[in-house]
Amino acid sequence: MVEAKKVRRTTLDPAVADLLKGMQQKQTESQLPRREREKLSRERAKIQSRRDQRATYDLPRSIREGLRVLAEDLRLPASQLATLALARFLNEYQNGSIDLGQYKQPSRSPRYDWNLVFPEEIVFAGRRKKGS
């Protein structure tokens, strides 16, 4: 039986590792044909321009899955659907048509006063019903 080749792993300072990775990536790119280099450069610029629009939230798997499936069905970017959903929620909250009181429970975290505890029908609303 042939043993898998053992690769020695070196732990690096995180900043050193990031810098090294970036430099290696640039070095690899510099050896690509001009057209591919330009394509990568455009993609990088696009990602950078979108960076300020990015946010990270913890969402239940069912919500994420529901959004993904809906986006695929409607052939839309999932980010745009999420934007619409959040914008509508904010409007409705500001109009007073959404009351968070029914979900609020005291939090034991020093950072927050409250947690929102959702009933299952909300968390699993994102799930697609069979046959629909």
């Binding site: 070196t10 732990t11 690096l12 300072d13 900043a15 050193v16 990031d18 810098l19 090294l20 970036g22 430099m23 290696q24 070095q27 950078q48 960076r51």
Partner: protein, 281 residues
């Protein structure tokens, strides 16, 4: 009826106060590399002033007869080290207060006489270490000369942590290995280092040679490599104006590092953070 909580609480607080009681210790860093022109003095000056700005009582000691530490702060060279070692003047008398929380033991060509004096003394390797003991400073930074003489050995023995600034050229790894060999020899004679760090300086991430050397030193020395300091013309100007980088160009890339997306990579500010991690354990 439950037991009163107050005595229990008092005992708890008393124990906590014992646990948090710490003896004030001085941390000594040596900035060493037998190669010249690698950024030892600039790194020592910048990081010492950075620590002082963070309210750490800091002492800089110039072990180099060129006496460039004083010049870096816009002062004249003076025989501070000579007075300390050869004339037996107390440390408090020879230090110059150069910035808030920052003192200097300056050097000049008389430092050569210090080497001769030390060579003739008994227990010569630990003279500097003894003179700096109980100094009352939080941190001491030793700026070493690019040589391997008795004063260099004294500096390496006084230090608990050695910072090895190095350029990333073909001879860089060899220079670093030389210092580490000397440290290992000193270690065999009973001195214990808390650690060492390699500080890449004059870093130019656009060149292939930098990448090759950076890959090499990270492969060999792993997490001992600190974030590099980007090459920056303003570093040279800084010394000419007798100011530190924090005063002259705090927004320069040598201080702030490279901007990579939202994060900063390298630069003296990040290196200062690594030093604080070492100091605070």
């Amino acid at each position: 009826m439950g037991r009163p909580l107050l005595p229990i609480l008092c005992v708890f607080l008393y124990d906590e106060s014992i646990l948090t009681l710490r003896v004030k210790m001085t941390m000594i860093f040596a900035f060493a590399n037998q190669k010249g022109g690698v950024g030892k003095t600039t790194s020592a000056v910048t990081l010492a002033d950075g620590l002082a700005r963070l309210k750490r009582r800091t002492l800089l000691v110039d072990l180099d007869p060129q006496g460039h530490l004083a010049l870096s702060f816009g002062l004249d060279k003076s025989p501070g080290l000579y007075r300390l070692v050869c004339l037996d003047e107390p440390l408090s008398e020879v230090v110059q207060s150069i910035r808030p929380n920052l003192d200097l033991v300056a050097g000049d060509k008389q430092t050569e006489k210090v080497k001769r004096q030390i060579t003739l003394a008994d227990f010569r390797e630990s003279i500097l270490s003894d003179l700096l003991a109980n100094s009352g400073y939080d941190v001491i930074l030793l700026d070493m000369a690019p040589s391997l003489d008795v004063l260099h050995i004294n500096g390496l023995i006084a230090a608990e942590w050695v910072v090895i600034p190095t350029r990333l050229d073909a001879l860089a790894v060899d220079g670093v290995k030389e210092i580490l060999t000397t440290m290992a020899e000193i270690g065999q004679n009973g001195h214990r280092y808390r650690g060492y760090s390699i500080l890449p300086t004059f870093f130019d991430r656009t060149t292939r040679e930098t990448l090759i050397q950076f890959e090499e030193i990270t492969r060999i020395f792993g997490s001992n490599v600190w974030p590099p300091v980007p090459q920056d013309t303003r570093v040279r100007e800084t010394a000419a104006y007798g100011q530190t980088l924090w005063e002259y160009s705090p927004d320069s890339s040598s201080v702030e590092g490279y901007l990579d997306g939202r994060q900063r990579l390298g630069g003296y500010r990040q290196v200062l953070g690594r030093m604080l991690e070492v100091i605070d354990g």
